[in-house]
Symmetry: C2
Subunit: 418 residues, 2 copies
């Protein structure tokens, strides 16, 4: 069987499974999630053995320490995956809710019912925990899922999906509910991008290269995730201490994630006081600053930023710094260079806070808080499958509700249209 | 300037205009809509003159009577377009609403604000009134719009957009708010499909050929609209009179639209009684029936349906008819052949009505009413830009709210993440 035939077969199986899943009771779904959690914990040894194969191959292939760390499944990480599934089981089921049901003048009741999307395709890279997170979220929201993980995690992903498949079988559920693409080569991605007959949505999670390829090739509706060139703007008159803490937290609490800040903008009135303090604070954490000409005047020891720095998603201990003349310039800069992910202002001024909230075009816009909060758990969604940076369907962290759609349900008593 | 350069220039102008539009007050937007309405009414003569050029060209090109009718702008149709704009002005502005704002344990207020999508691309065919409807809806929802109408309506579309442009200028608004693509050749569509830097969404309205092309080529997020292979299922024990009226209305009240029924399914228990009555009723209206083998046994005078009939969107006085053994068979048939548009059951049975509502996968699912109600006005949305048959972002009739997205707005007091 060619890879295409195999994937089309998986697509058909997923579509059939999706019809079963759409009508599964919450009780059964939650029991399945808890059973998978139990199975993961009981299979720790086998999972770690398989994971070890990936780690050895990764070392041999010269993966960076950071990548090898992301790839690693130890006891506590397996426990954390299982706990994630148990938490999902405790979250309310979004499916089946009828949200509103106004009565029309002719007596028709026109309601909106929340229903699963159908079949979700996930394309992602190194981290094997995404396999379980995504499978659990899709399952709870009543969707079948086809997972295409990275080649680095192939053994880990296989054993994790096997564990889930065993539980599905125990419950008499079709294996099409949760499937892993057997091959991890690029061709598999191309075929998935083409499978609009079977996939209702594709969610790519990974670097800019993957996302761009998906946008260029996909015939399936796509939800873009995760590229974050985020900004913090320090307004004139801002509380200096708050402005330092927020910038520090947004940059250094976890520099490798998409909601970390990459460029700091500071109002010219505050720059002379603020920038040296920021420099001193971030120097301790070995953050490299790159400045605009005015920032370099104030901090002659730092490197000059180039045009490419304003576009950069460093995901590293680097921060670009720019002095701006006004809120207008800050808004213009962010709307020009930002990736519409997370943007923050630190200010004491009410009307400027309101302008920032309204005029910045991004998934999450903050007043006086760190951009690092853009996250499903932090926003109270319970869990997330990714952070959408596009505008269609879902924007920002995507939880269970964002994995559903609606259908109109209309109750009549024989109404016909004139 | 090449067509591509021209379109990219329009894209840039739209993107700039979108920033202005996103922050325009409801008052100004409503005044602009009313002014465009006034201008249309005052320019009736010129509009009809330009429309006449299109009609003459259409006649020369041998367009069908139905198409020529759809192309025609007479006094009352111009009045109707103007009245549509005035109605839009009276609808509530969706933009800026903050829908919910829970307080998180750390004191952050996390809210969702409704905001415009940005730049909308519309690709549509013959009817020039779509130009004004789409421009008005996009404008009220705070979006810039790039309109690519059909070649048949080129003169009409130009004068209509000119009227709108004149009003925009009077109000000091950028012309990028509402733009028409100057060329109507296929190349213009290809370029639009590629313009993901400038367009936030593309909405194609037209035949299956256009929709398929858009799905295959688009790099811009697309909302599919309008293909409707709709079904009415007559359940055992249904009220015969209601079942006849609903089938008749769904087929003959306007056969050329997407929410008209194309296949009727009837439970075997009722078929012998129902089908002859249906045949007699629809014969008067010159509807051709095409039946499955069992339907043809009952009605030997009708043509046999072929496999392609179950897939057909006739948009004509033709109805495929199939006798089914059970509700299960009806659901399976609809979920196999339907286009996920509008599906109806006529029944007296509570539990079967509930199963139909839950198990049918479509944008609008009806109990005891005609499928013809799937329409923005009928559902109480006020106006619609199309009917989405996909699951992402919007499903069913799309009104003003469906032309918006959300952004998270987060109010803090210096919170940082641990």
């Amino acid at each position: 069987m060619s890879l295409r035939e195999e994937l089309l077969k998986q697509g058909r199986a997923a579509k059939e499974a999706a019809q079963v899943l759409a009508n599964l009771s919450t009780d059964v779904k939650d029991k399945v999630l808890e059973a998978i959690a139990g199975k993961l914990v009981n299979s720790k040894r086998e999972i770690m053995e398989e994971n070890n194969k990936d780690l050895k191959a990764g070392e041999a292939a010269g993966l960076s320490k950071a990548l090898l760390d992301r790839l690693t499944l130890n006891e506590s990480r397996i426990e954390a995956m299982a706990e994630g599934l148990r938490e999902l089981a405790r979250l309310p089921d979004p499916v089946g809710e009828i949200m509103e049901m106004p009565r029309r003048p002719n007596g028709l009741q026109v309601g909106k019912m929340r229903v699963p999307l159908g079949v979700v395709g996930m394309i992602y890279e190194a981290r094997p925990n995404v396999t379980i997170d995504a499978a659990g979220l899709c399952f709870k929201a009543g969707n079948a899922v086809i997972l295409r993980g990275g080649s680095e995690a192939v053994h880990s992903n296989r054993i994790l999906v096997q564990a889930a498949a065993g539980v599905l079988q125990e419950f008499g559920l079709p294996p099409g509910c949760i499937q892993l693409v057997s091959k991890t080569d690029r061709e598999a991605v191309s075929i998935l991008l083409d499978m609009h007959e079977y996939l209702d949505v594709l969610i790519p999670r990974g670097g800019a290269g993957l996302i761009q390829r998906v946008i260029n090739e996909a015939k399936v509706p796509v939800i873009q995730t995760g590229i974050g060139n985020c900004h913090v703007y320090i307004d004139e008159g801002a509380d200096l201490d708050m402005a330092l803490k927020i910038a520090d937290n947004a940059k250094t609490s976890r520099p490798g994630v998409c909601n970390a800040v990459e460029t700091l903008l500071v109002h010219q009135e505050l720059a002379r006081e603020y920038l040296p303090a920021l420099f001193a604070l971030l120097k301790k954490k070995e953050v490299e600053l790159r400045g605009c000409p005015r920032a370099c005047q104030i901090l002659p020891q730092i490197k000059r930023a180039e045009e490419s720095d304003w576009h950069a998603e460093y995901l590293d201990y680097i921060l670009a710094v720019k002095v701006v003349e006004s809120l207008d310039e800050a808004i213009r800069h962010i709307n020009t260079y930002g990736t519409k992910h997370s943007e923050a202002i630190v200010t004491h001024d009410y009307s400027r806070s309101q302008r920032f909230l309204r005029e910045i075009d991004a998934a999450a816009v903050y007043v006086n808080a760190s951009t690092r909060f853009t996250d499903g758990n932090q926003f109270g969604l319970g869990a997330e499958i990714g952070i959408s940076t596009q505008k269609l369907h879902a924007r920002g962290p995507m939880g269970l509700k964002e994995l559903t759609t609606i259908k109109y349900v209309i109750l009549g008593q024989g109404q016909i249209r004139e």
